[in-house]
Symmetry: C2
Subunit: 448 residues, 2 copies
């Protein structure tokens, strides 16, 4: 990419000039994996009260073209569908993660692009292309301001997601280079979301708005709204206002050569990502020890300070459970799995799980890598066994396979009773590149 132009303009030129042949097979396949994971996560949360509430509020403000709300019977216009589907996809903390930024790339980008594509009957390949470009710009903007951005209190999935949604929608709509730059600049004036609110439904609003407002940015840019060329890097622009001052190169260096989005990862468990090694180790110990939970005397979890800071806490509800060392270890030992059910209130309140949580102790071991853990189980009969996990399942080093992602999708889809045809959904996602319209796939994702 030439260095001339502002950050918005450089991104816009890249996006406007990108052709499908620029996207290699690996990126195309990764996008399908991201979408399969996305749809599953949204289906897994489709009956959650937070999703039902978002649908109910948005119904009063839904225009004449109703579109799919994943896993539900109601339909909403593109703004409403983008908002609710983004909320659903992110709700269980089960969606994908760009580990270096901790962005969940797909939740804000795919719903906006899918709603627009469903509305206009765009081709599956166009949707994939737009999604990949949106996710790339989203991850790059996030990386340019990491780690200070999140540490300062910005919920990076929301604050950067709005750029990804704007770019994906802009590409789908065929915006010119100037219009795409405007869409990015307009997105900058809509970028919001706070870490302080992560333990509450206000988090959902930030993620939903990233999708909804990104779509709005693209539509306004198409209609002629402009933005400051240096909306991102200017002296009174996005990065500085939010507390950072990266160079333009940090945003756009190696654009089209190095793909940030390619480092996307998928969670095997709906828990905080730092707890995945703990769960892996406990599942392995359970297999090797072959004892019942009653036979356990104690479970000691060692990890770095981050693990202890985030996860050594009392558990009173589902949100706590997803970021609790004790709960993660207990369900892995007791149930031999850590799926969505294991982090619901019924599991939190299960006396057997609560009893096992009390046998779990956490210790700091600064020698362990971030994301790693050593778990030691001691049995009532005096045996002791340790398992060390450096790279958890789902990390870049141990990615979930396509089969793993299909199994995860089935688990999530099954939470809607027998109303979803999971196999048809899976097949449609793998075949999306050839689909002449995104609409049939979206219809499969709605509740009958």
């Amino acid at each position: 990419m030439p260095a001339a132009g502002s950050v918005s303009e450089t991104f816009a030129r890249f996006v406007a000039s990108s052709t499908w042949t620029d996207i290699d097979a690996g990126l195309r396949h990764e996008a399908k994996r991201s979408l399969l994971n996305f749809f599953g996560c949204a289906l897994g949360a489709a009956n959650d009260p937070a999703v039902a509430t978002a649908v109910a509020v948005m119904r009063d403000f839904s225009g004449p073209v109703p579109l799919t709300v994943i896993g539900r019977r109601e339909r909403l216009d593109a703004m409403g569908a983008a908002f609710v589907n983004a909320i659903a996809a992110n709700l269980l903390d089960y969606d994908d993660t760009h580990l270096e930024t901790v962005i969940h790339p797909t939740a804000p980008v795919a719903p906006a692009a899918l709603a627009l594509a469903e509305q206009h009957g765009f081709r599956g390949g166009s949707l994939l292309h737009a999604f990949i470009l949106g996710a790339e710009v989203e991850c790059r903007i996030g990386k340019a301001v990491s780690p200070g951005h999140y540490a300062r209190g910005w919920h990076i999935t929301a604050t950067c997601g709005v750029f990804g949604a704007a770019v994906a929608c802009g590409k789908l709509l065929g915006l010119t280079e100037a219009e795409l730059a405007a869409a990015i600049g307009i997105a900058a004036s809509q970028s919001a979301g706070l870490v302080e609110n992560l333990a509450s439904a206000a988090k959902n609003v930030g993620v939903g708005n990233a999708a909804r407002n990104g779509l709005l940015a693209a539509l306004l840019a198409r209609a002629g709204y402009m933005a400051a060329p240096q909306a991102l890097e200017g002296a009174l622009g996005w990065a500085r206002a939010m507390g950072d001052a990266p160079t333009p190169e940090a945003f756009t260096g190696g654009l089209g050569v190095r793909w940030e989005y390619a480092a996307n990862t998928y969670k095997p468990y709906p828990a905080g990502i730092v707890f995945h090694a703990v769960i892996d180790a406990c599942l392995e110990l359970r297999k090797r020890l072959g004892v019942s939970p009653d036979d356990l005397q104690s479970v000691t979890v060692r990890g770095d300070q981050l693990l202890l800071d985030r996860g050594d806490r009392p558990v009173t509800n589902a949100r706590d459970a997803r970021v609790s060392i004790h709960h993660c270890a207990a369900v892995a030992f007791l149930r031999g799995r850590a799926g969505v059910e294991e982090f619901e209130l019924s599991a939190v309140a299960d006396p057997a799980i609560a009893a096992l949580r009390r046998k779990v102790h956490a210790e700091c071991d600064p020698s362990l890598p971030s994301g790693g853990a050593i778990v030691t189980a001691r049995t009532q009969d005096g045996r002791s066994m340790s398992v060390r996990v450096d790279a958890a399942l789902g990390s870049v080093a141990q990615p979930l396979s396509d089969r793993d992602l299909e199994a995860k999708f089935r688990d999530n889809a099954a939470r809607n009773g027998d109303e979803m045809d999971a196999e048809a959904c899976i097949a449609a996602v793998w075949a999306i590149e050839e689909a002449t319209s995104v609409a049939p796939l979206m219809r499969l994702m709605a509740r009958a």
Copy 2:
């Protein structure tokens, strides 16, 4: 107010417990003045392409209850009407100003509250009450983070306006204390808008979103969405993420005793507020000198560094003209007024005005107070006269009278040809406190 509780909770308790009898006659009257000024500014911009574009984009996403778009025939649902009316009210930089924060308090708050009140047929007194409380919370939050917030790049009208809209809508909807606190916390995760974008239409999006998303915050809170109690002052909350760390007292000290909103001011001219003293002085010189512009040899404007930094610039379009010392002085001398027409492209391109702009020179005089100016005119026949203005018309010290505000409203309304009944509108605003429904007033504000 008791000091217990978080900032959101303290504001929520204040708003939930406020009764109409707590609002004195001065505040009630100020709110009517703010609304009269608001409606006029929106009418003055109703035919602007930026407003037409916003309407066109929002029409595709407008739900089943259509409401008034000020000065237009189209109708939009509450989200759309709040968005567009906020954009229109702020578009010409002609709306009200809380000088200490540079917040334009009414543009984001009134449209959200008015749309909700029109939708539900709420009483005029309820609307006034909700508006005053919303504007008060908005100005207080802004003041707690001023002046660093704006200086860092945050467009404070947008970033703080969303709180005001959330509070006003929450009060109208009769939210409980807990729900109001949630609405404020949800608004924090939607707070956005950049100074870098002020010279472009992206500015409009920030202001429009403050109204639209503030309404959404109140609706979601009513439906059960929660937020972190310390969304504003928490370690990873709004103030710190945005770069400030005020004490809770800075937000809520003297709540209900000292009213920030009471310091609201109104512009006599649709130009940057620091240029108002220049215009006042030139109008006075024009009257006293009694010469034609051709007889002027030169006009020297002296002001503080801020005036020169903001206003000593070439003029190529309407946005430039509104922040140009040269243009402000030229139109005042040439036309004897500085209304909306004087800052349109036709005036910018007027050869006589352009010629007079070239005779204007700016000089720094650090001894002048901020907002003050000394203008010296020299005539071709060798006369020289100076006028000094320390407090411009429209400042706290020289407030616009009710009659001034009525005249300003008429000027703005007249920009819609003879389609507006300006006298009926003015009478309806002054009588709003007694109106059993806001709907008839809103109907008057729509184009026939």
